[in-house]
């Protein structure tokens, strides 16, 4: 299915801005091209007058042969429906684009990432520093002419592996016997490290006027990257006034594994196991999003049975992920490990199903373009049936009774980390964080994919936007997932599980596609640009956890340090996705 933009919107944009905006007419591309000078006015108009209040994704593409850098935006309406895709082009050598942060604050981290990896400077950005690599890193890695230290060839498969493949370790070919490269003439004896003055200098203090009896100082404290509570290697720099948080800045990049650069070197099928490792708890969902994006480009649809199997795996993954989220939130609250142990026990039973179907508990690599890799073995449907109809409803009820009315949970979570509906939409929050503030936006309802338009389920929302609401939404979403699974198990048909033959070299026509799904953490999007070759030209992941972290700062200011830990737990981040 190609991405369609409704005819009325197309005419509306072109009739509204007849001279400035042009439609993108390249083969396989959609959307509009905006000149850089007009971008701010265009964005204000579509947000205020046309209802596109949710900026989902900001990314950049390096068109080296044309000498251009293109920044691509995807905007959506929170009332649902297809999106608006617009681009700004700028010359590669002096890539400057006006920043959209004053209009859509949720673009903050994404623009910093494009500055870091692509070298596009955003004018008007409040804090343009590197985010995934470190200050002082040499070069902009995702540019097409930047080569890494272990560079062998532009695209896989490498010729050195066959037919004359004498084994070697990559270290042996590097002069430093390691993954290192330095600029010419660099002398470490004469070099001084940059330090983190830009980070610490930008922290705000609480302004206090008037006389106070005690003269107190406000301190900067680092929480992480090794900390029992930070859900992975994540660092928060906090300015503390006693126990109250005056300012909070997240620092990430401690798990930056160059997913997008490796993705450009891989062929399409080779990227599938790498998507498992993005949000490593929900590997089936990540596979789903990537398969959808490439299937949009290839214009193929999977058969019925494959669709049902995909939805079954996606919903089981949702239950796994919410079980872990609830268990670890309770860990952060101090209930050391008992609720987590109960949640992990249920998850183990679901992982047994994944192991029987796909071969691995976590890194499933199960989806292919046009269906799934293998059919369900005998006995698996019975296992799923037992879980869905008997065990899971009982256990979700048990977790609910164990935790929801607990006085300590309520006292510590109600009213903590509040974010209003307008703030959540402006900060591009997604998933339970957005729905807890009252916005009923779920990609499965807003832009249905696969067979979700036939299934009956409710979109769960909260009303206060605090930690307690997010926790309750996750419990309720587990119940809705069980409801979906019951319908899937009843209606699953027989038939083939793959459109066409299983090929390891897929033919993907040139063009661009943005495929998005509702991951348990939020909206996961894959932006793939193809130029007809076996490897993608650009491959970008719109990571929900990364963008949800923009709201960590506003949620935490004014709260106590202990609350910051719970707020981070309620956003439910997974570092593989934040840092890619």
């Amino acid at each position: 299915m190609t991405e369609t933009i409704s005819v009325s919107t197309k005419d509306e944009i072109l009739t509204r801005f007849p001279n400035q905006v042009t439609a993108d007419t390249r083969a396989g591309y959609q959307g509009y091209i905006i000149p850089a000078k007009f971008l701010t006015q265009f964005a204000t108009t579509i947000r205020d007058e046309m209802g596109y209040d949710y900026l989902s994704s900001v990314t950049a593409v390096d068109y080296l042969p044309d000498g251009k850098m293109e920044v691509v935006y995807h905007a959506y309406k929170t009332t649902g429906g297809p999106g608006l895709n617009f681009k700004v082009q700028t010359p590669r050598d002096q890539a400057v684009v006006p920043s959209l942060v004053p209009i859509y604050p949720g673009a903050e981290f994404q623009e910093r990432e494009e500055w870091d990896l692509m070298g596009v400077r955003f004018e008007g950005h409040p804090d343009l520093r590197r985010i995934l690599t470190w200050e002082g890193f040499e070069g902009h890695p995702l540019r097409k002419d930047w080569h890494e230290a272990y560079f062998e060839e532009e695209a896989k498969p490498f010729k050195a592996r066959w037919p004359d493949g004498k084994v070697y370790r990559a270290e042996d070919n590097n002069p430093y016997h390691d993954n290192l490269q330095y600029p010419k003439g660099f002398d470490p004896e004469k070099w001084t490290p940059l330090g983190e003055t830009a980070l610490y200098g930008g922290m705000q203090k609480i302004q206090r006027n008037g006389d106070t009896v005690l003269k107190t100082d406000q301190m900067i404290i680092n929480l992480g990257p090794q900390h029992p509570s930070t859900h992975g290697v994540f660092r928060m720099v906090v300015m503390l006034d006693g126990e109250t948080v005056a300012d909070l800045k997240p620092v990430m990049g401690y798990l930056h594994r160059n997913h997008e650069k490796i993705g450009e070197r891989n062929t399409y099928i080779q990227n599938m196991p790498f998507t498992d490792r993005l949000d490593y708890i929900t590997s089936m969902s990540n596979n789903f999003g990537y398969a959808l994006a490439v299937e949009k480009l290839m214009n193929i649809k999977p058969p019925e049975r494959a669709d049902y199997i995909r939805v079954m795996m996606a919903e089981l993954t949702r239950i796994c992920s919410h079980l872990i989220a609830t268990g670890f939130l309770l860990n952060d609250l101090g209930a050391f490990f008992t609720p987590a142990l109960y949640a992990l026990e249920e998850r183990e039973l679901i992982l047994d199903i994944f192991e029987a179907v796909a071969g691995s508990r976590m890194m499933c690599n199960y989806f292919r373009f046009g269906g799934v890799a293998r059919d369900l073995p005998d006995g698996v449907l019975k296992m799923v049936h037992d879980l869905v109809f008997e065990r899971l409803p009982r256990k979700i009820e048990e977790m609910d009774r164990l935790l929801t009315t607990n006085e300590i949970v309520r006292a510590r979570c109600e009213g903590v980390g509040v974010i209003t509906a307008d703030q959540a939409v402006a900060l591009s929050a997604a998933g339970p964080v957005l729905r807890a503030s009252g916005i009923p936006y779920d990609v499965r309802r807003a832009e249905p994919y696969s067979i979700y338009d036939r299934l009956e389920f409710d979109v769960v929302t909260g009303s206060h936007g605090d930690v307690y609401d997010r926790y309750r939404i996750r419990i309720e979403e587990m119940r809705q997932s069980v409801r979906i699974l019951e319908q899937v198990l009843k209606d699953i048909p027989g038939g083939p599980i793959l459109t066409g033959k299983p090929l390891y070299q897929v033919r993907v026509p040139a063009g661009e596609a943005y495929g998005r799904i509702e991951n348990p953490k939020g909206e996961l999007g894959f932006y793939v640009v193809s130029n007809g070759k076996p490897n993608p030209w650009r491959y970008h992941v719109r990571a929900p956890c990364f963008i949800n972290l923009t709201s960590l700062g506003p949620m935490s200011i004014g709260q106590k340090v202990a609350d910051v830990i719970i707020i981070l737990g309620s956003i439910d981040i997974v570092l593989g996705e934040v840092d890619r």
Binding site: W134, G136, F137, E138, E148, A149, Y150, F151, E152, E153, F158, A160, D164, K166, Y168, R169, A170, N173, P175, Y176, D178, N179, L180, Q181, Y182, P183, K184, G185, F186, D187, P188, E189, W191, P193, P225, Q226, H227, P228, G232, V233, G253, Y254, L255, H256, R257, N258, K261, I262, F274, R277, Y280, L341, L344, E345, E348, R361, M362, M363, L575, G576
Partner: protein
């Protein structure tokens, strides 16, 4: 002397009245036995392998049956550092600092392909090709991720390795103080303070061939 009379040999004949009430062992064995059965891991998970480590600590594959009762967040109280997940250049200074802060006797387990040798992300520009480039590793567990049973097998391998140690060669009873590993710095690329001369020599050398793979054939 006959084996049965030598109190230092395992075949020593114990008197009939003392059978079942007396155990004879060597100091090495009992020292190693007590250490291998109470290794406390440091709470230190980097990436996907950390989830499998948490599953190993959870109820199905309980690793407190092996004596790893609690995971201590503080490196001062931990015995073994299980490096689980990809080691990136931004994170390696912290890993080296944590390793320096651990008190002897300390062990390191590299869990997973990424910690052993870079893993599937080895070709990346911010990935360190294995934590043993900076920190001495005792046991490597391949797999991506290794299942909890594979991790438990690796722990048993570490326990067997500890069994073979002797008090005479214990490095923490040496007269010289142990030298901490110098913490790497983040510059244009990761800079290891032990290699300043090598770096200066290479960056001021004449041009290297463009494609390193040409060196192979």
């Amino acid at each position: 002397m006959d084996k049965k009379d030598d109190i230092n040999s395992p075949g020593y004949a114990v008197d009939a009245e003392l059978q079942g009430r007396v155990t004879i062992t060597s100091l090495d064995r009992i020292y190693n036995w007590s250490r291998r059965n109470s290794l406390w891991p440091m709470m230190f998970g980097l990436a996907c392998c950390a989830i499998e480590m948490i599953c190993t600590a959870a109820s199905r594959y309980d690793f407190s049956r092996f004596g790893m009762e609690v995971m201590r967040p503080s490196p001062r109280q931990a015995d073994v550092m299980i490096v689980s997940g990809t080691v990136t250049k931004k994170m390696i200074p912290q890993i080296v600092r944590l390793f320096n802060q651990m008190a002897e006797p300390r062990y390191v387990i590299a869990m997973g392909a990424c910690a052993s040798g870079g893993g599937p992300f080895k070709e990346g520009y911010t990935v360190v090709s294995g934590v043993d480039k900076f920190v001495p590793v005792d046991v490597y567990i391949p797999g991506c991720p290794p299942t909890p049973q594979a991790l438990l097998h690796g722990l048993i391998t570490l326990q067997e390795k500890i069994d073979k140690e002797t008090l005479k060669n214990a490095r923490w009873y040496n007269k010289e103080a142990s030298v901490p590993i110098p913490v790497p710095l983040l510059g244009p690329d990761l800079i290891d303070p032990r290699r300043y001369a090598e770096i200066a020599q290479n960056t001021n050398a004449p041009e290297l061939p463009a494609n390193p793979a040409e060196n192979v054939h």
